[in-house]
Symmetry: C2
DNA sequence: AATCGGTGGTTAAACGTTTAATATGTAGGA
DNA sequence: TCCTACATATTAAACGTTTAACCACCGATT
């Protein structure tokens, strides 16, 4: 049995071996090497001997044993939206992950990526999350069908959600989608657009649905016309955005602008428009959502909503760690986006 | 002490508690619940009672304890190139990560992202990697200065490297950069280009250096002229690619084509060219490296080298797991890229 | 001469599992 | 009545730490 972990080379020395080498008790070695400054102190000579032996034997404290004892792992689990994409993390999710890392790293936590979950199977995920491997979990963009968040709420594992459904759970960190969509629509309205389409994200994502709802609500309020042909479901991915735009271009009449649920689908939409021999924004204006790094370098540069992703992600991670360390309750926080006006949006064409 | 892990709700039940509930020994409960089909069998009635109690108490096996005993964690550590970027994972690295996940997921391993390492500090990283938290490690694109790989070679932790320096370690999975660069240069040569520039990646990355060397070697072999002004150091990022191209555009004379070390910098380069009022490929042809998803949708679509990233990453992960599970030795593997010809490259302009 | 206080340690239990070795009980065969 | 065999369950050690509680020793006070 003990052979299993030493295949390939010499095994890692344990505290017991170090202690024996010095001729001292395990406890003494422990105090010296990983020492809390507790009651019992150790003489300088003993200390030196232990340190020397540890060095010689290549001792390294075993984190499993330590965590088992402490009941804490200093690990945070991240559950990324599995969704239906083959790519684990799109540019936006990647940005989120980066923000989470920024916070966890400075607070002394490491990240465990929870990926072994076929189709976001909640029971599966729960098994993984609750087996003691993590002190808390960041759930990113849980899809609508998943029971993960409600199930997790019944457990005592600290959790925070990014881009989740507020009805499902009130530990939600995300942009104020309604206000953000309002900014985008108001911008198009001010440019004279009265006929606007929308390319949505996948409807199992809360952010996609709420943006679509806000789009309709705001269009109605502003008196902007929306033909149903102009509203197409995408998947927050380039290709699907392109396909969606191609469908819109086949409408009986064309909108003068299209608001896209995220930047990737906006890029796809622009590609479709230009491939059809039309121009952005000459014929159709495009507004995206996210402000991913490439948005400003696109041709034309993309008008979009800037999400304070780093702030949101760090905020979520921070709240989670606060809960873990001092039982501070987590409650939802919403962040304001800003409109970034670039070249993909312009005055409405005089088609109507 | 035991209070620490139950803040927030009821604690997770342990095997001992389940056993006590049923009035049976811990061992019996263990065999029933996480049972190996070993010698001792359990009566149907006992089995049912234990299962019922476990269910009732919400028992879940503690992975730490299990791993401690087994000497195996079923976790793979991933060390991403910290490099100097603020974004943890660029589109290419993200693709690599995705490939690794694909393999580990099907083999029953989870991923631990090792990020708490200021400036890729090797000693720090070693402490983290060797504390027993992972069964093996995938090092992705270790920067030149880092001692991590050599240090890790001295330890008995299974390791595999992606895009590392072959001189440093022979457990390297990567594209055959020389052959790939040859493809790109030959392509430009065939289009009539005899004056070619190069935008490199950061020189602390092996892949960037070897591509640069191969570029010079191949240019020489083909009789292609390379003014030193035309060779600029980038960072594999859009912005730096743009800046690099701006410098090239200030040269006393212009190359007819520029080969870029990766796609992101190629996008930046194209942006710079068009911002300067020139056209791609009319005035300057561009060839990239990687074939990221957006390459085909760019305007113009990017001619580039397709890296079989998924194959490489899965291969690396697979080799690592084979070593972990059956001590199979790991040795370097090189994969062939293919030229993907698109719109960003065309016949050389007749400038010369 | 008994007590005190410090210094420098050690013992033992605990964290939650797994598993080899062992024990108990019952039934059937000699 | 004793032995064997089998089915079923238990004991105990082990994985590598941490830490509260305890102990032995010694010089200095009373």
């Amino acid at each position: 049995m003990t052979e299993r972990k030493r295949d390939g080379g010499r095994a890692r020395a344990t505290l017991k071996e170090v202690a024996k080498e010095v001729g001292v008790s395990v406890c003494t070695a422990s105090v010296v090497l990983n020492g809390s400054n507790s009651g019992s102190r150790i003489s300088e000579s003993t200390r030196e001997a232990v340190v020397a032996a540890a060095q010689r034997l290549g001792y390294r404290a075993n984190r499993l044993a330590r965590s088992l004892h402490a009941g804490r792992t200093h690990m945070i689990g991240v559950v990324p939206a599995a969704a239906n994409t083959n790519i684990l993390l799109g540019p936006h999710l990647q940005h989120v992950l980066n923000g989470v890392v920024n916070e966890t790293e400075t607070r002394g936590y490491d990240l465990s990526l929870i990926t072994r979950c076929d189709q976001y199977n909640a029971a599966n995920l729960l098994d993984i999350l609750l087996d003691g491997r993590v002190d808390g979990v960041v759930v990113v963009a849980p899809p609508l069908g998943s029971r993960l968040v409600p199930l997790l709420l019944n457990e005592n594992l600290p959790m925070v959600v990014i881009d989740g459904d507020p009805e499902e759970c009130n530990k939600n960190f995300m942009i104020d989608n309604n206000a953000a969509v309002k900014l985008a629509m108001r911008h198009l309205f001010d440019l004279g657009h009265r006929h606007v389409g929308h390319i949505c994200g996948p409807q199992e994502l809360y952010a996609a649905r709420v943006r679509k709802d806000a789009f309709f609500a705001e269009a109605k309020k502003l008196g902007v016309q929306v033909d149903l042909e102009w509203v197409q479901i995408g998947s927050f991915e380039f290709e699907r955005g392109e396909k969606a735009m191609q469908k819109i271009l086949k409408s009986s009449r064309l909108p003068t602008a299209v608001f896209c649920g995220n930047d990737d689908s906006a890029f796809g939409a622009m590609h479709a428009i230009e491939s059809a021999g039309l121009s952005v924004p000459g014929d159709i204006s495009i507004v995206g959502f996210d402000d991913v790094p490439t948005a400003s370098y696109h041709h034309p540069p993309l008008t979009t909503i800037d999400q304070p992703v780093d702030t949101i992600a760090r905020g979520a991670a921070s709240a989670l760690i606060n809960q873990i360390e001092s039982a501070a309750p987590i409650k939802s926080e919403y962040f304001q986006g800003t409109l970034v006006q670039r070249g993909s949006s312009g005055p409405a064409s005089v088609r109507f």
